[in-house]
Subunit: 348 residues, 4 copies
């Protein structure tokens, strides 16, 4: 019963297999491996973006921060949701990589920026006034940190606003596959066709050991990205081992298969919670992340039974009926059996 | 006949095996995996440094730059050899991570800083004068970029000078194992016992897929390093896959075995070159890197035969007898057969 | 009728006189002028802080950003009011100087952080968690940007909270003199005695040409500040001309006299506005800044009469009765006559 | 007998006068003062550059660093002479402002980059190779730190090389007026007509209190410069006091008059030294800076007589005949009488 994070899951066996196959003989380093040529072409085909620049890095923070730094200036505002990973979970990485850009926070339900709030936040940043940071970029996280999912139409609403102000758009797609599966959208629809300029296309949380692709739809930005990646220590010498993971990820739809498994598992969990007494959702769960409140006594029961997930608050507090939050994440390998056991303990 | 770089070599099969073993079930993320606990303890034992802080990152540039940033200020001088990797091959990563420290270059043969030159270079940086950058840190590369190796006594000579000026010392040990093997020194002798404060203990070039350990002998610096690592996107969520590689590396002396193989192969190459006509060494090769000049016609013959190594100059130039440099690197998997074939073509 | 900003006012004639007196013969550069020795001693006496380090820079942004950079890390949070000058009016200078610290915003009336909000904001920044920025420093602006003034007790309430979390405190005192005059506090009471570690003691807005003192109560931080100042291009070679201005400022209480004049003028304006119909204060004005809303027709009448102040909104809009904000600032040289003319037009 | 630096000299009385005249009534802040309009136009006329963007800052380090940051990337090389002010005397300011660019040093006599050395240094920086910093900008100091002066033809030789590699050129003209006077060149000839893209046009060392103009010949860079200036705390609120100084500087050729006086004084000193026994020049003095070696006993005699200048070495050393270096700088107000007294003591 392990729902702590999709980051605690193993990699898919096919990923290990691919590493083994790649581990043969000498091969060009620093991205000059033939596997990367295949990855690049596959990504371009998948996104119907024959000109896109495609890069691999090993962590989501690197992908996000390098992308933002390439698309905005040190004196710019990065508009993002208050709960965005880049704001909350990266120890200031965007500020470090950009040379001090300012994250300007936008509110909205389920971790999604409300279009009206985005527009008013952009408007409140006085462009062309040298005393203020300038309007820089809009960053959209899909799946959101609260477990919500933007539909293609919702993304287009935000990028349309960005476009009114001539701002580029970044997508933190650490769980991009889960968002696609949840909405039945195609990769192209959820990225450049709905106005995204640079996508962090996650792999790590969805069954890889540690690879994220950065897809830059305007190749004019590619060389700057390469320099920033190298300068930040994120260009791998034995790059073939990143390439091989991502190649396996994309082959025969493994990436979508894994995301479907995670979302389906979460669906089972959501159904169960929906029928449980004393448990209520904190946000509308739409992919593989579920936030719910329940009385401390249920948390304690679950903990005793060995369930592992994030508890928001003090498990050892006195009042057994105090409502406390929780965050549960399913991954590609979460089993029905585990969920059913979890629900069993939850229901007492 | 692949002598382009040790970075073009595969990983040792045991490393892949270890990944497979680590890829089972859920495991704490971001360094909270039990394999890392074992790695930490093993490194401490190996270095006889029970208090040392031990971290893993995936690239040498990350290891070096994070170490330098933790041990020096933005307004400091980093004293290093003119040919140091941090100066020449990292696209300014040290400047980026430190917030703009200045690399101040020291000369000396075989890629090694000459002690007298280090002392005079430090002295020429006017400490306590607000107009100048301040004396910050001494960075020593072992094996050097020219293929030389510092003995423990030579390191101590440099760190002694650093100590006269109260400066900490960093070692870029991307090829630390090769240096140990070349000198028969112990890990402790070549690091803290000879005055090194922070060591980048390389694995990638010596048979791993992509892991370098950073060993900080003063644990007071540990937390700052952790924050800098996270903020730079170098903390892996599925950290177990770094841990597993390094665990395999250290187990049963695999790391030393691989370094011995690389150095032995280079020794065979050095012997052959030493007996060849028209070929002369550019530096004294002491580990697994060999620099040599030879006439263009020999380079052309080697290229035609399929030998791959770095040629310094224009292979297609007109004059067949023009001397041109070259860099050849052996790795853990370089075979005698390959070397003998190479020497055969070299000798015509 | 010029109420645009205290920055649009001239310098006091005595400041010019002092420049003339300082402009004689050769004098040590970069702060080694004897006038600075006198300034340093005078500031120490004034603040009853015999150990304080005292520096002069020419702009408020430099004073604030250099102070923050000296007292917090690149990965730290700077807790400040949502309307703070460092957040709103410095084009991201704090982010630039600190190497990417994050300004974390605190709410409260009249531009003042509410103690409860400060505490909960600090608590919500999860210290010791490597994924988050760390708790760094609390920055207090007095006079606030909204024209409010913190009493000594109110400052102590905030610094007490900071102290609970071991955080240092910075005061942006661009209008420090106006705050002192408004509260009858002494310099020591409003700074180190109420928990301030570093004070930006403004001069420019209060009658100088362009000088701010930075007073660092813990001299251990002094050398770092000096290096940061130099490295940022804020150390003046002909430093005597900063020293002379500040010497004149402190002589015979000129600085307090000028602040009193500004506050008294604002008091007259506040009284008049308080009695006017259709005009209401946006915040409680306590020093020399007044925010008020009034119908567009009054703004238009004032503009026609030549009154100059900041109008928040579109002066040319259609609806004459629409309420629009305004910001009026008095300075050391604002005259009663000007205020009375202004009030005359305001009242129609 | 004060030859320590032109920075130790007072400002010209006309500069103080101009401040007095500017100190009347309210005036637009942050550069929106009418005096600046006049300065801008005058500079454009003087340089025959009707499109040039013209900005004022208060220090030379600010002017240089902001210019470099505007014209090069964080991952770029700045090619400059080994003795350049930006390398030696600014505590790493260029690295700070640029976000970590690397100063790559070029040799040559009299503080001037030798064209052949510049070309080979640029060539040795491997452009388009992601592992290396990229070729960024060429920075030329005129008058050089060694007291040499580049002729217009010499500048054109360097900028021609830069142009072969498509690199922009910066001039650190802290003593631009002295260089013009020394070569009889016009401002246009010594700047954009000989290939300079951005000029730091010094005022402080040549009779102002503290103002340097930055002249950007391509106005497309202007807005970025403005943001960088603000963000670095170098935009003055009461900007009129910078404008007034520079207006006075340019009026009726005061700036050239002062530079002529300084160069003429240095000429008298150079003549005297040329005829003295036991004294020899370290570099060829061509403007207002003179480097010379002489025996310790002469230094001691001069010190005893009250002469103040920079002595390179230990004045109190034992050997009276040991040769020690010195640096003497003349300014707009150096008198013949002072020089003659100095020469009298020098000759014993």
């Amino acid at each position: 019963m392990f729902f702590a994070s999709d980051n605690t899951s193993p990699a898919h066996p096919k990923v290990l297999e691919a590493l083994g196959k790649a581990n043969v003989g000498y091969m060009g380093s620093y991205g000059a491996d033939p596997i990367m040529d295949d990855v690049r072409q596959t990504v371009r085909d998948l996104f119907k973006a024959p000109e896109a620049a495609v890069y691999l890095v090993a962590t989501g923070s690197a992908a996000n921060s390098l992308s933002l730094a390439t698309f905005c200036n040190p004196w710019d505002a990065v508009f993002c949701h208050r709960s965005a990973h880049i704001e909350v979970d990266e120890c200031g990485a965007p500020e470090f990589f950009t040379g001090g850009a300012k994250l300007v926070l936008v509110d909205g339900p389920d971790g999604k920026m409300a279009p009206a709030r985005l527009r008013e936040t952009i408007k409140a940043t006085p462009q062309g006034n040298v005393h203020s940071v300038q309007r820089g970029i809009v960053s959209i996280t899909n799946v959101t940190e609260a477990g919500g999912v933007y539909s293609v139409a919702e993304i287009a609403a935000l990028t349309g606003i960005a476009s009114d102000y001539d701002l580029p758009c970044h997508m933190d797609g650490a769980r991009f596959a889960n968002a696609l599966v949840a909405t039945n959208a195609s990769p192209a629809e959820m990225s450049w066709q709905s106005g995204i300029d640079v996508l962090c296309f996650g792999g790590t949380k969805n069954g890889l050991m540690g690879v994220e692709a950065v897809v830059i739809f305007d190749p004019a930005k590619a060389w700057e990205f390469e320099l920033r990646r190298k300068r930040a220590g994120h260009l791998f010498s034995k790059h073939r081992f990143l390439s091989a993971q991502f190649q396996a990820y994309l082959q025969d739809g493994l990436w979508l298969e894994m995301a479907k498994a995670a979302n389906r598992a979460a669906g089972r969990l959501i159904d169960g919670i929906g029928q449980a007494s004393d448990v209520s959702f904190m946000y509308t769960p739409q992919a593989n992340i579920v936030y719910a409140t329940m009385p401390r006594r249920i948390h304690q029961r679950l903990a005793k039974a060995g369930a592992i997930y994030e508890v928001i608050g003090d498990l050892g507090g006195a009042d057994p009926s105090e409502l406390m939050g929780s965050r549960m994440v399913c991954s590609w390998c979460t089993t029905d059996a585990d969920i059913d056991r979890f629900l069993g303990h939850l229901n007492g």
